[in-house]
């Protein structure tokens, strides 16, 4: 069993043009910075990116947008990105907007081998168009399908060489859900440790879901909305 790869370049080596990727993170929090940089360097084109947000102009998935590597974004909120807006309005970029909880649950469904789930969000709205509606206990639900993605790329705080992962604070967000959902799951971690160094009771993502893992480097961990109070 050897899941450890040397770096981001090796981790994303076989991602082909046209691949469907899941990318963990909420805003700029908990995003796989190293793998995004490696994808920019590799120049893989026509990517479909499933990710809650699309980064900002010069960080996160925004970097892949700048280089026009993204064909389609599947997100819940794509607000903070001027280049994104330009590509969308010009028709260069396709966008599918999905309620945030639906996005999360469709990842989870994939990880749990459940092909479809029934969710409340979006009933009676344009999100419901073309979807099966079904009533349970007097409420209307939409049938939503599990995501089918080629790669899930996640960022964890700590991981061990068997692929077990722990996420820090709210940098957890979509990461463990996507980790479960990828046909191939790539995890970059701030600290890679030996098996046995993580307490088996407190692992968020069991290593069985993780195919490649590497110790990331040079994390910027940019803050999108720095808010403070005075001492």
């Amino acid at each position: 069993m050897n899941k450890v790869v040397a770096n981001a370049e090796e981790a994303v080596r076989d991602i082909q043009d046209g691949a469907v990727l899941m990318l963990g993170g909420f805003g700029l929090c908990g995003i796989p910075e190293n793998c995004i940089a490696a994808l920019v360097k590799k120049g893989t084109k026509n990517l479909t990116c499933i990710s809650n947000n699309a980064g900002v102009d010069d960080f996160g998935i925004g970097l892949l947008l700048q280089t026009k590597q993204v064909k389609k974004m599947i997100s819940s909120y794509v607000g903070e990105n001027a280049e994104f807006e330009r590509q969308l309005l010009s028709g260069e970029l396709e966008v599918e907007l999905i309620p945030q909880g639906t996005l999360a649950t469709r990842c989870m469904a994939a990880g749990y081998g459940m092909p479809a789930v029934y969710l409340l969000a979006g009933y009676g709205t344009e999100v419901a168009e073309g979807k099966e509606v079904r009533e349970f206990n007097g409420k209307n639900y939409l049938m939503e399908m599990a995501f089918d993605s080629d790669y899930a790329i996640v960022k964890a705080w700590k991981g061990d060489k068997m692929g077990n992962l722990i996420f820090k604070d709210t940098a957890r967000n979509f990461n463990p859900l996507m980790a479960m959902a990828g046909k191939i799951t790539i995890a970059e971690v701030e600290e890679l440790v030996e098996p046995g160094e993580l307490d088996p009771m407190y692992i968020h993502t069991p290593g069985i879901y993780v195919h490649r893992i590497f110790q990331g480097k040079d994390y910027e961990k940019r803050i999108e909305q720095r808010t403070v109070r005075k001492k």
């Binding site: 700029l28 969710l119 808010t227």
Partner: protein, 218 residues
């Protein structure tokens, strides 16, 4: 005088009960946290994966890994818990969050809400709003009664694309407090100095004035 944003938030805070789990949206709803009544303990949920959201950090103590759903740096409190986004919306969907407060562009007399999309404008996305309005068990809308053009935001039917159907239970606007009932909007309180006539004039949807309507205490 119509209420200012702080007063709207203060009025909504009166709805909080001890032990409530509460999700506060961006904008006026966020301000509600500043007016939680003495002796009332509530736990704030942030849908990106936190129960027990604390105040903003002191300068220099910001942590990029610790943000709220508005992407602001925040802190935790004793008893806080982190979880993933599926569990976060799962607990909302299962009715475990007692109250959700959010803003709106329009609310219809049947409780429909529109707050995510304006045709022909750049659409940023619904984020968690559709999940929250569809699934939360009690939803209060905090908003201005009219839009910048002076048009009513309490309508017979929403003109904008919907976020959710028949889900708003109560509105606190700058003019008053309104229950959303099977019989349309029911004004139960008016802002100090705001007349019933003004409320009637600025409400396009079906409106009833509660027999015991009173002046809001803020």
């Amino acid at each position: 005088m119509p209420l200012n944003k702080e007063q709207i938030a203060k009025r909504i805070a009166q709805e909080l009960q001890d032990g409530y789990y509460v999700n506060l949206g961006i904008g006026i709803p966020t301000l509600v946290a500043n007016y939680i009544p003495q002796g009332v303990n509530v736990v704030l949920q942030s849908e990106n994966g936190l129960l027990g959201m604390g105040p903003f950090p002191f300068e220099g103590e910001e942590d990029a890994d610790l943000i709220n759903a508005g992407k602001q740096t925040i802190t935790t409190l004793p008893g806080s818990v982190f979880f993933d986004s599926a569990m976060s919306f799962g607990m909302i969907r299962a009715g475990k969050v007692d109250l959700t407060v959010l803003g709106a562009m329009e609310v219809s007399e049947s409780g429909d809400i529109a707050n995510w999309k304006i045709p022909n404008k750049m659409v940023k996305g619904m984020g968690g709003a559709m999940d929250l309005v569809a699934a939360a068990k009690n939803i209060i809308v905090a908003m201005q009664h009219t839009n910048p053009k002076g048009e009513s935001k309490l309508l017979p039917k929403c003109s904008l694309p919907l976020t959710g159907v028949g889900c708003v239970k109560k509105i606190v606007s700058d003019l008053g407090v309104f229950d959303v009932t099977a019989d349309g909007f029911v004004c139960i309180e008016h802002a100090p100095g705001v007349t019933i006539d003004e409320i009637k004039a600025k409400t396009a949807g079906k409106l009833t004035i509660a027999p015991n309507v009173k002046e809001m205490a803020v």
